[in-house]
Symmetry: C2
Subunit: 399 residues, 2 copies
Amino acid sequence: MSTFVSAPALAQRTNSLAASAIGSILRLADSADMVALAAGSPAPETFCATEVAEVVAELLASGPHSLQYGDTEGLWSLREWIAAEQTALVGRQVSPDGIVMAHGSQQALDLICKALIDPGDVIVVDRPSYIGALQVFQLYQPELVSVPIASDEGLDQLQSLMDGGLRPKMLYIVPNFANPSGLTLSRGQREKLADLAARHGFAIVEDDPYGKLGFTDEVSRLPALAALSDAVIRIESFSKSLFPAARLGYMTAPQGLVDVLQKFKQAADLGNSQFVERIVHGLVTRPGLLDGLLVRSRALYSDRRDTLISSLRGHLGDRLRFATPDGGFFLWAGLPDGTDATRLLTEALTSDVSFVPGAGFFADHPDVATLRLSYSCASPERLTAAGPRLAAALDRIAP
Amino acid sequence: MSTFVSAPALAQRTNSLAASAIGSILRLADSADMVALAAGSPAPETFCATEVAEVVAELLASGPHSLQYGDTEGLWSLREWIAAEQTALVGRQVSPDGIVMAHGSQQALDLICKALIDPGDVIVVDRPSYIGALQVFQLYQPELVSVPIASDEGLDQLQSLMDGGLRPKMLYIVPNFANPSGLTLSRGQREKLADLAARHGFAIVEDDPYGKLGFTDEVSRLPALAALSDAVIRIESFSKSLFPAARLGYMTAPQGLVDVLQKFKQAADLGNSQFVERIVHGLVTRPGLLDGLLVRSRALYSDRRDTLISSLRGHLGDRLRFATPDGGFFLWAGLPDGTDATRLLTEALTSDVSFVPGAGFFADHPDVATLRLSYSCASPERLTAAGPRLAAALDRIAP
């Protein structure tokens, strides 16, 4: 066999590939007794396995055609359903032609970067921000500018930066129950952000995986950013409302960008699985199914949030500080004594409790005394055990 | 609502987005009576719909867990199966850790470019070459050098170019029953190519979607390029052996590149659908299923090839020239009088027969008097009608 004497060099963008040390730690630590607060996965109890089996049986009883290649742009009937949903949400007509399907909302982020980002372009991100977005952004070699957008003074800070000459190509935000911060933008913050985008000509990427999982009517009535501005690329997915293995995300985008995104989608993978698209279409068009799932999911996640908070408050008091999220999956906490959360994790794993240290969620200047606790996929019994186990771990390093 | 006064500029790579005029023509032309020789889709008659329904019912009877997020790297048991298959194929141990899963083999091409290609890097492609590969390559802004690799003098031409200083980063080839040329590299060509890669340090991307669909024992015994060289990134997929809606491709790569590809896979979409991976695993581990499918598929495609060739020979004689492919889906034909195949297509559509003009398959200097005819997904009755319909169309423009 020939031997590869001088291997080809890697592309320059590989320099931006982050090491995922936490990923390795957590994989090793997947013991049976673990209180697993690290993964941000939805609860399998909310998945509609029976109905998926029924829809698949119906689909395949009519022949093998759902197993063929589909259109790159996706299944038209599903895009019609999504377009009607988005029309109701943003208060103006959204056409099925304006829906771009993606292999999970993570791929939507990759396609957006392909369409918009040249090396050196400025992307404004939240502080902290979704780690998966930071990973994909970095590969396009932008200048990442990190601003605490969801905080009280965040948009004033952004305004000042722009008055000083900052010219972002786009801004990335999770407006509802953000990953990792759990924060939700107020109506006023949304209006101010839309105004800034209009005045300065940058795109807003509104990533909204948790918007249907608000725990109060008040937060569920907040307007989507896409309802306030036409500079918005809005991303949703079926991962949290149906099930993640659908790997079906979708987006709406300013006219003119849609065609470019579709072409990149074609080059990226020719299109999604039409089989999966037909399963999802079969589920969302079953009368009452999706609404019923969401009602049950909101109740389940809200209960789990309360259980975790009660356990943490009872056993850690103010040694761990956090705001109460109004929906979604995440509690974002700080260690007021400055303890490094990565050190705490090592200790916590020996107490059979896991979480994600916060440092990885910062584009720059990480706050190492932060951590993300997910209450979404641990059972109530495990969540009740979180407080004492974390307290024991903290006692050992910061008594 | 705010108005988007100055939209953000698109990234420079959008300049490379090719218009897909043929796509639009063919979509309009999808009449019920069409002899459709354009799409390169497999025959739905070869899909195992009943078995898919059975596997799904078994999977979901055991609970909802197959609907959860899976590992980014893919389902371990499926990677074990693939590793065993690749070990047998290349004659050395391939580990499940060395298998990179992708959302179709098209995504494998995108991940490879992300890992290896900087703007200006040289990629050598066949002449003609797979259009989907050309599309994704162009977005990474390389210098594409087109050489008729599979022709008798192709590797001598490549050798001369390299003696003259050409330094490719990688070379892309479909070694078996290529799309679009239908050609297969001989054993001697494979050995020479492996030797060139070793001496000059470029990677070979061996894209092999049709390798299991050879019509004679002789072609099925040809060695994989990955068996002759360790400079090979080898891509396969389940699209043609099981069904395309699986959207499951996979690759093996030189050690050191695997980890980089896995990180890009994670950034691109977090991972494939574990639900689909479990379905595919359920199918490939059913005793006899895959082998039986392949035996039937080879017979079906071989018959369709013969039917199309017989119809074309009978009605067009030497007005259309082509070599007989030894497997796969495609007949690559030339119009010896120099007729532009795009003109012929316009006329052919009014005679209810479609194909793909060859020009799009060339990285440069397109030969417009070429066309690709797919016999894979048209019924024998339709294939029999191809000859007279194409002859009538040709009569009208080149009598």
